[in-house]
Symmetry: C2
Subunit: 409 residues, 2 copies
């Protein structure tokens, strides 16, 4: 096992301003495709497209980077095709920084059957069989990796740490993640312990394979490898996992696993108290406004979340006063913008009445315009959080914003 040696000096992380209270900070992630000013919200483009929006529009709404998914792109179109296209950014016409998630979460959660199991009473499910359905195991975790069935066609596949690294090197994103086992809050303490240990062994294998591939694929810019901290709701497991991964010299870290909203800050704090300060930290799959403040305060630099675009496609619109649905009848003849004082393309060119019409008429442009607004809202919120850290007004901004966004709390 060797420590990661980044051959390209353009990659790395520099810390900017620190919060007086808490672990929060601003910073800059340097990638071969540009810088990311942190804290930053990373737009999700699971299948190499931010759904319903052209990449130029993604840039225009303020997103600095896009995160795609190794599992989805492995199945369709195939990571070899993305590689031949020149990598994720070239394939999807996104010249800026890119991330890929390792597929660890998806092979378990999207492998056919997982959702049904999640809905079962946990007492009826043995810990090691958490990913089984009836007599047919649809995803099976062993020491070496995970065997799973495609949610698209039921075909069988196997991901190991090495396979995940090979896929992510083919995809060619600037920031890639180690292959980890995703557990749920249903698993026993005993299972979580064994899982964290296994994720650590997989991390070692990821670093080795990444180092090998980096030496081999010199025609491509260096990809930063982030280790993923698991450990569920257990402080000792989370801290130990963070320390063990830190020792492997990763370029940065992801914080993964099932995180209940009311302990999000606490768990993130445990992890970030252990992680090296000079490496960026990404919180996987989190993006509601209150969660963003909590995560930033506790030392998270970047986030991704499908929520802003997913709810947009159903007409749910983020505003400074919380979410509302533009498809509701009250907006039928409201000729004002979605939200007052919003600088996004949608708010500066269209009315609520038009969005309401497009939704009722089931027109695709409804998804496009609502996604632009919501992604802009969240990206811009994190931009304002960043500015408030620099200004020393983080606490006031949080109180002011959350008081308006969640007025009934």
């Amino acid at each position: 096992m060797t420590d990661i040696q980044a051959p390209d000096q353009t990659t790395g992380f520099t810390v900017g301003t620190r919060l007086e209270n808490g672990l929060g900070r601003t910073g800059t992630i340097h990638t071969p495709h540009g810088e990311i000013q942190t804290p930053a919200f990373i737009a999700v483009g699971t299948k190499a497209t931010v759904k319903a929006v052209l990449p130029e529009t993604v840039a225009e709404l303020g997103a600095q980077a896009v995160l795609a998914n190794a599992y989805h792109l492995f199945l369709q179109p195939g990571s070899d095709i993305v590689d031949e296209a020149g990598g994720l950014g070239a394939f999807m016409n996104w010249p800026g920084p890119t991330f890929t998630d390792s597929g660890g979460f998806q092979v378990l959660s999207l492998g056919a059957g997982f959702k049904k199991v999640l809905a079962m009473n946990s007492s009826t499910v043995r810990a090691d069989d958490v990913i089984a359905e009836g007599k047919t195991r649809l995803a099976h975790v062993d020491e070496d990796g995970v065997t799973f069935k495609s949610h698209l066609d039921g075909s069988r596949h196997r991901f190991t740490p090495e396979v995940s690294m090979q896929i992510q090197h083919q995809l060619g994103a600037d920031i890639i993640f180690a292959f980890d086992e995703c557990t749920t809050l249903m698993n026993t303490r005993e299972y979580q312990e064994r899982s964290v240990e296994r994720t650590q062994r997989w991390a070692v294998r990821c670093v080795d394979e990444h180092t090998r591939l980096t030496a081999e694929r010199t025609h491509r810019p260096y990809q930063m490898l982030f280790g993923v901290v698991q450990g569920a709701q257990y402080e000792d497991l989370r801290r130990q996992a963070a320390r063990d991964l830190a020792a492997l010299g990763f370029d940065g870290f992801g914080i993964g696993g099932a995180l209940e909203k009311d302990v999000l800050g606490t768990i993130v704090r445990w992890v970030n108290e252990e992680l090296p300060e000079d490496k960026p930290r990404h919180l996987l799959g989190i993006g509601e406004p209150d969660d963003i403040f909590t995560a930033v305060e506790n030392g998270v630099d970047t986030f991704d979340c499908v929520s802003p675009s997913r709810v947009a496609r159903n007409g749910a619109i983020y505003s400074e006063n919380g979410r509302f649905n533009v498809a509701s009848a009250t907006n039928r003849r409201d000729f004002g913008p979605l939200t007052q004082d919003c600088a996004c393309y949608t708010c500066t060119h269209y009315s609520k009445a038009y969005l309401h019409h497009l939704l009722k008429a089931k027109e695709m442009l409804a998804s496009t315009l609502a996604t632009i607004h919501n992604e802009h809202f969240i990206v811009n919120l994190v931009d304002r959080v960043r500015a408030s850290i620099v200004d020393g007004t983080f606490a006031e901004f949080r109180e002011d914003f959350l008081g308006r966004y969640y007025p009934h709390r």
Copy 2:
């Protein structure tokens, strides 16, 4: 009944270059929202959006004007709402020229039941009951207008010439169409005669109502009213209809009704030999490349057709060598553009392999990118037709283009 008096001198039509052989010509339609250089392909935005594409992109791909539909917008969101929004262009953020179709075709073809009747053997259908289904008439034509059921919710509505004018004045497009009865090739000669006479009486009523509304609604720019020439496949009916409508002083003319491909040119010629040369002529719902050449040669100035965007959403791509489907497996790892030497945004930024992926992944961006290409292709083809008339190379261009587009004819 009074002749139409356009109070706004910015509207009208000027003829440019004429074809040496045939009725074709270039020209300019002057509207309050800009000029349309003709021949021109008008992009279809039925429900106040060109499906899947932002209006800025519609302009960028070269479209000069957009055509929406009075029937669809009357049902959803309601023409009163579009009026309150400032009219169609303001509502949908399209600053250029706009058209609305009268709804005459749609009340009959989309009124629930029509498609089933169309599929029936014509010998079993009495001419006057052509729009009936079983015992329940779903759309009923009488001397005064058409009663129909919404295809959305089955609610009953009634369009008359006056109602269509009122709706189209609320929608506020620059060019609007008289309310006509749409017949099919199934109808008897006797029915076609009576129908053409009725459409003529409706045209008179449209002109009267348009004149009244124009005098009343002085806060809005003048809307040009086009009469619609029907008459099916009968030369005498088509010529008579054209002459009769011409006598009413319309600002321009639409050519409507069922037109079989092999007699398209002949029928259009009959009509345009009768219509005044100094008024623009729009061919409703036609847009395949060979039809475009035929129509232009016989004196048509503008067209609209849903085909380029509709087939795009299924992956069918227009090219100089005919249509192909980018979803076919041969394009899976083709990293070239959809078509060589195409200047559209899609071809200059994306590969066939990426479009293939988006289609397989059922991503909305597939529709967006394929629509951009196809609309650009058709708009650009008509632009080249226009240039060939000016250059005196129309016949050569037609032969060259159609020889490549339909190589097996």
